[in-house]
């Protein structure tokens, strides 16, 4: 009997990263801009997505991949009602989406007829941060009701963001939320991060956010 040490040094998420890279290429080949939206449960992801579709659907063709832990169609029904094709991918209880789930969703979307694909990730501030899905941008939705300490408590998810949406700003008078404390935590982890304070209720902040998203989508189409 012989015992041998085999050196490997392989990233445990390498298989996922490989599929993610392929996803990104497929989106790019179709001139599609893809954005992955992450958040805690109840942060207002679906409300933000629905409002965004309503404001942009006449100018941009949008498709949505909805991640859900179980096969309830509440979120995807709302998206379809807002006027965008949506496919639902269930993770069978898993805490995050991975690149292969996104691929399955992509296969059901009419990619030739889309300019923008929005992925609504599972509500969770820990796990989704680790999994590259093949999007061109990662967004985090953080509501003021969750508290201003979240960047300090869940630092990892803030590190790989391209855009941050502070939601439910209409609640600021009613909750203890110090936006400067929140922003100083974000600044440590992701200096200069593009941030939009928004309220889906009042529409505040949506012109700036949808303009940013339109510009990114247009740039992807012109590549």
């Amino acid at each position: 009997m012989t015992s041998i040490k085999v050196p490997i040094i392989e990233n445990i998420l390498e298989a996922n990263d490989f599929v993610a890279e392929e996803n990104r290429k497929i989106f790019s080949d179709h001139n599609i801009f893809c954005i992955n939206i992450m958040a805690a449960p109840g942060a207002g992801k679906t409300a933000l997505i629905v409002k965004t579709i309503e404001l942009l659907k006449d100018k941009i063709r949008i498709g949505v991949i909805e991640g859900d832990t179980a096969s309830v169609t509440i979120d995807s029904d709302q998206v379809v009602m807002a006027g965008a094709p949506a496919v639902q991918v269930t993770t069978a209880g898993e805490c995050h989406m991975d690149a292969m789930m996104v691929r399955k969703g992509m296969e059901q979307l009419p990619l030739d007829d889309l300019d923008l694909v929005i992925i609504e990730n599972i509500g969770n501030l820990i796990c989704p941060a680790e999994w590259d899905l093949g999007s061109h941008a990662n967004a985090l939705v953080a509501s003021v009701a969750e508290g201003d300490d979240k960047p300090w408590k869940y630092p990892n998810i803030y590190r790989n963001l391209d855009v941050l949406l502070i939601t439910k700003t209409d609640l600021i008078p009613y909750v203890d939320y110090d936006i400067d404390h929140f922003k100083s935590g974000v600044e440590i982890l992701n200096p200069g991060l593009v941030t939009f304070p928004t309220s889906a209720k009042t529409g505040d902040g949506f012109p700036a956010w949808t303009e940013w998203l339109s510009k990114k989508t247009k740039a992807a189409a012109e590549k």
Binding site: I4, P7, I8, I9, E94, N124, P155, I188
Partner: protein
């Protein structure tokens, strides 16, 4: 908190290298896990037992080389560890800090056993 999928990925990598090296069994797996990778070693060990039952991988010892999350202060240059909550620089209080390391999630090596061949 996604130890099951992480454990499945570890198994795929281990199987690939064990087969290529004609292993009869695997005695140990050396992993590098950063604190920012959000992986609980005990859970990986638990899932490993379940998904490898009855295979040549079932008796492998999982060794975890834990790496702390290290940040460096952009202003005073000192390096510090973050164990739970994020903090400003403990030396000078600056908010300008840069993540250095601590999100590793690697299979570093495996130790395989080959039974002696009959002559």
């Amino acid at each position: 908190m996604h130890e099951l999928s992480a454990t499945q990925n570890i198994l795929h990598i281990v199987m690939d290298h064990a087969e290529r090296n004609h292993a009869d069994s695997v005695s140990a797996i050396n992993l590098v896990v950063g604190d920012f990778a959000n992986i609980v070693p005990d859970c990986v060990g638990y899932y490993w037992k379940i998904i490898t039952e009855g295979t040549i991988y079932a008796d492998a010892v999982l060794r975890f080389d834990r790496r702390p999350a290290i940040f460096e202060c952009d202003d005073c240059g000192s390096q510090f560890e973050i164990t739970r909550e994020m903090t400003a620089c403990p030396q000078c209080g600056s908010d300008h800090v840069t993540f250095i390391s601590g999100d590793e999630l690697l299979v570093e090596s495996i130790e395989i056993v080959r039974n002696e061949k009959e002559k």
